[in-house]
């Protein structure tokens, strides 16, 4: 038995590895740049120049802190045309644009030149518009004010343009704009732009004329040593000892990283939310088993009776009743000033909070009204399913010889069904039990959303909406782990319930 358990735990490792990989793949393919998203609230885009340098630095630091400046995985499968250093380009929109260009032309050497010329142009535009704004203000012509506003923006937009004709027309437009204003006296300022623009034009022409599209059709494998996944697993210190880790200690040391949305450790958020989901699940499971086993056994014992038929119908209805509909109906009935307002509608405790010095009994008294409706919703659907499973299992058992023997011996029906039958009918019920473990982590997203329970459900929902991928990866991995634990527990319970089941190989 022990050997079997150990072997099962060993199988956990590759499975968890695959699950975390799936979550990782989802997270890197998600649209949007988490760092940009974090800064989006603070300031719009990279256009405004005043705090630009400081902001870029802050962004870089954050990127480093979150490990986003690293390659994604130990290796990537790309095309020959893509360089292995593309991950070093920090801005995700630039990177995507470059990837498009690479996909069209397949000649990184030239595209790199072109990209550099664009960056030079952008930097010049950002610095110039700031430094020369005084100069420009001296020439108080309306048209020059337009330069100040639009010029930098137009230069920057080139970094996000991938279509050849569009690029050319944009460069041309910028050049004509420069030409139009050169007569107005800001020659020095515009000349520099003219040379930069023509450099851009030339480099892009080089990209076009030296296209090596065939390279995009050849696959290439690139290896990276230190990467995001490695960092996620082992932290950013020494991978074996964990020494010298600054920002993250790695999942293997119990650190799920820092949330993109709140900048707080994911472990902290989970630690706060998990107890709610876990305790609700545990309570509802306990309730469901306590109620469903007698119902199932009774229904099977009195097969075809009124109780059997009516409970079948009711349970079937409950089974098909969507829990969010049931929840809304309950809220509408018991937490609605129009009908009955005896139970609170939202949350898990009074809005004012529970006083610090409250005794355990007082705390319980303040909390339980909030838990009644959620518990009913959590319980009823599994209750229906469990009772039905129990009934079928008991029916199958009750026609077996040993049950008939028990009857022939004249045992009471309670003794027959609960002592002799139950243990043998437990197997399907145990199978169901295994499925409950992951629920404790995932929670019931919908029900927790509906009742405003601060469990894992709302956390998952906000994590998905804010693209907070460290959180999502953590939930995936944890619930995968719990599922595996569930299977293992079920297997052990099988062996306990039915001694004939043995996992040793002999």
């Amino acid at each position: 038995m022990l050997k079997y358990i150990l072997r099962r735990i060993l199988i956990f490792i590759p499975t968890l590895f695959v699950i975390s990989l799936i979550a990782f793949v989802i997270s890197i393919n998600a649209p949007g740049d988490p760092v940009e998203n974090l800064f989006a609230g603070a300031k719009g885009g990279e256009g405004s120049s005043a705090s630009n340098a400081g902001m870029t630095k802050a962004k870089d630091e954050l990127r480093h802190e979150l490990g986003l400046d690293l390659p994604v995985f130990y290796f990537t499968l790309t095309s020959l045309s893509e360089p292995d250093t593309l991950y070093l380009i920090k801005d995700k929109s630039h990177k995507e644009n470059l990837e498009r260009l690479i996909n069209t032309y397949g000649n990184w050497e030239f595209i790199q030149e072109y990209y550099r010329s664009l960056i030079a142009l952008r930097n010049e535009a950002l610095i110039r518009t700031e430094a020369d704004s005084n100069l420009l203000k001296q020439i108080t012509s309306d048209s020059l004010l337009i330069i100040e506003d639009n010029f930098a923006q137009k230069c920057i937009s080139l970094l996000r343009t991938q279509d050849a004709t569009e690029i050319k027309s944009k460069i041309n437009a910028l050049q004509t704009e420069c030409g139009r204003f050169s007569s107005l006296g800001a020659n020095n300022f515009l000349e520099r732009f003219n040379s930069l623009l023509s450099h851009c034009e030339n480099t892009f022409a080089a990209v076009e004329s030296n296209s090596s599209q065939w390279k995009t059709w050849i696959p290439a494998l690139r290896f990276y040593g230190y990467n995001q996944y490695h960092r996620w697993l082992f932290g950013d210190g020494n991978w074996l000892t964990g020494n010298g880790s600054e920002h993250c200690h790695g999942v293997l040391r119990g650190d799920f990283g820092v949330s993109y949305a709140t900048r707080k450790p994911v472990t902290e958020t989970i630690g706060r939310a998990l107890p709610w989901s876990m305790s609700l699940t545990a309570m509802s499971v306990l309730l469901a088993y306590l109620i469903s086993i007698p119902i199932g056994v009774q229904a099977a014992a009195k097969r075809g009776s009124f109780f059997d038929r009516s409970s079948s119908v009711v349970l079937f209805m409950l089974y098909s009743l969507p829990s969010f509909f049931m929840g809304t109906l309950l809220l509408m009935t018991f937490a609605n000033p129009d009908v009955l307002s005896i139970l609170p509608a939202n949350g898990v405790g009074p809005a004012t909070g529970i006083p610090e010095d409250a005794t355990l009994w007082e705390k319980f008294n303040m909390t339980w009204p909030y838990l009644v409706l959620p518990l009913i919703c959590y319980t009823y659907s599994s209750l229906a399913f469990l009772s039905r499973t129990m009934r079928v299992a008991m029916l199958e058992i009750s026609s077996l010889d040993f049950m008939r023997t028990a009857q022939a011996k004249g045992l009471s029906s309670n003794l027959i069904y609960y002592k002799h039958g139950l243990r043998n009918a437990l197997l399907p019920i145990i199978t169901v039990f295994a499925n409950i473990f992951p629920l404790a982590v995932g929670g019931s997203v919908i029900l927790e959303y509906l009742f405003g329970i601060p469990g894992m459900g709302p956390e998952i929902l906000t994590a998905v909406q804010t693209k907070d991928y460290p959180m999502i990866v953590a939930v995936f991995t944890l619930s995968g782990f719990m599922t595996l634990v569930g299977y293992l527990v079920a297997d052990i319970l099988y062996a306990i319930a039915d001694p004939r089941i043995s996992y040793s190989k002999s």
Partner: protein, 450 residues
């Protein structure tokens, strides 16, 4: 008649067909049969939704002209008024149809579209409440009974009944298409895993390695090279994404077949030519286990967040891609039984290719238990979809679904009609599918026949 002939006849006489037998069993199951009828009513409503609930009349005679506004794809009608000979332009999407003065008119049974905002009846007007109608002259009247909102309105004045009718379409099609995808994957993988097991599929080592080697290449050509075709199609519409995805899958298959053919050529000699077993069952079962250990709801929510904009097709594809494991498991178990049956051995002895044995001989017989799983799966898919739209994930803003209506009711418990009717609709459809599933299970599983 000789004795022998008689014997042959008696042997041939009871023409036992499992399909006929199961159908007979199924027909005995009253709730399942009733459910089939109810389901066909739902299907009828779903198919004809635009003609059952539409703000445009089905037929209208207006100023001497005859129109069929509900059936047309035109955007406007231009014609001359016979009396004043003014030119009239009726723009189909913004015309207030109920205030035109028709010579004769035939309305749809529910004269509202799900997205028409009835300004006179905004802010939760119930089925029994007084409803208002504003005439051309600006007078407020009682709503003519023909135009009443039979199941009330929501906050912005949209008709709930019309929303329910159009929501039927979404729910049923989500159930069908996502389970269609799931059953294709599940049946295929389950059949292959069960039929071949771990020690039945023999391949020359060279070919086996070539196929393994082909996987990264297939991925590269199908998804890396075509990445921009896929993302561009995703930006365009759900349908073009589906097409692009199918092309990618075809490319994937093609590369594997190509490498397999090369592998066949190089599989010569002692080492490369040696036949080895492919542990297909282990691979597929492990895959199912892994997929099962990810909570479906979380997986679906995070996948739904990955797409740039919400669309029904993505929801269908996502549900389909994540819910095939049950079907695969049932089919696998069935195939484990079938593969040692006589008729399969007979087919093998006759030298039929494995492909033909699996998909033409065995699959028909092995499909039965997965039918049960598919019926329950449709119910589950509908539940997932309505749950997703209940929490506001996955479906575009302008599509009305049952889950969304139910969620709107949450904002105002006074508006019970927004909670009860959509909830009942979901409940009814889910029950119907569950009953059909139960009926199928009882009919297909002779062990339960008592």
């Amino acid at each position: 008649m000789s004795k022998e002939e008689k014997e042959i006849q008696t042997v041939q006489q009871p023409e036992f067909s499992f399909r006929k037998y199961s159908w007979k069993q199924f027909k005995r199951n009253k709730p399942a049969i009733i459910s089939l009828y109810v389901l066909s009513v739902f299907a009828f409503v779903a198919l004809l939704a635009p003609y059952i609930a539409n703000e445009r009349p089905l037929y209208a005679k207006y100023k001497g002209q005859t129109f069929y506004p509900a059936f047309t794809s035109e955007t406007n009608y231009r014609f001359q008024d016979p009396q004043s000979s003014d030119s009239i332009n009726l723009q189909l999407d913004i015309t207030d149809w109920k205030r035109l003065e028709y010579e004769s008119v035939f309305w749809a049974p529910v004269p509202w579209s799900p997205t028409t905002k009835d300004k006179a009846n905004r802010r939760w007007v119930g089925p029994g409440d007084p409803q208002r109608f504003i005439t051309n002259t600006g007078d407020t009247l009682h709503m003519p009974s023909r135009f009443r909102h039979r199941l009330g309105t929501n906050e912005s004045g949209e008709d709930v009944l019309a929303g329910l009718i159009h929501g039927t379409r979404i729910s049923l099609s989500i159930g069908f298409i996502s389970m269609g995808i799931a059953s294709i994957i599940g049946l295929f993988l389950g059949a292959v895993a069960g039929y071949f097991g771990d020690n039945r599929l023999q391949l020359a080592r060279g070919r086996f390695y070539m196929i393994i080697l082909s996987l990264p290449f297939a991925w590269f050509y199908a998804f890396h090279v075509r990445a921009y075709n896929l993302t561009d199609a995703m930006g365009e519409s759900g349908f073009s994404f589906l097409i692009a995805l199918l092309i990618s899958i075809a490319v994937f298959a093609f590369v594997i077949v190509l490498f397999g053919t090369i592998g066949r050529v190089i599989s010569k000699g002692n080492f490369l030519g040696k036949q080895i077993y492919v542990p297909l069952d282990t691979i597929i079962s492990r895959g199912i286990e892994i997929l099962n250990s990810i909570p479906v709801m979380i997986l679906i929510i995070s996948l739904a967040a990955m797409v740039k904009e919400y669309s029904i097709i993505y929801v269908m594809v996502i549900i389909g891609l994540t819910s095939w494991t049950g079907i695969a498991r049932f089919t696998r178990a069935e195939f484990l039984k079938i593969r040692s049956m006589d008729y399969i051995s007979a087919a093998q002895v006759m030298g039929f290719p494995e492909k033909r044995i699996i998909f033409r001989h065995a699959l028909i017989n092995g499909m039965a238990p997965s039918l049960v799983s598919i019926a329950f799966g449709i119910a589950a898919a509908i539940l997932i979809e309505s749950g997703l739209s209940f929490i506001g994930v996955g479906l575009p803003q302008d599509v009305i679904t049952w889950g969304k209506l139910l969620n709107q009711g949450r904002e105002n418990f006074h508006a019970w009609w927004l909670i009860v009717f959509p909830g009942l609709a979901i409940f009814l459809v889910v029950t119907v599918y569950n009953l059909i599933g139960e009926g199928l299970r009882d009919a297909l599983d002779p062990k339960l026949k008592r």
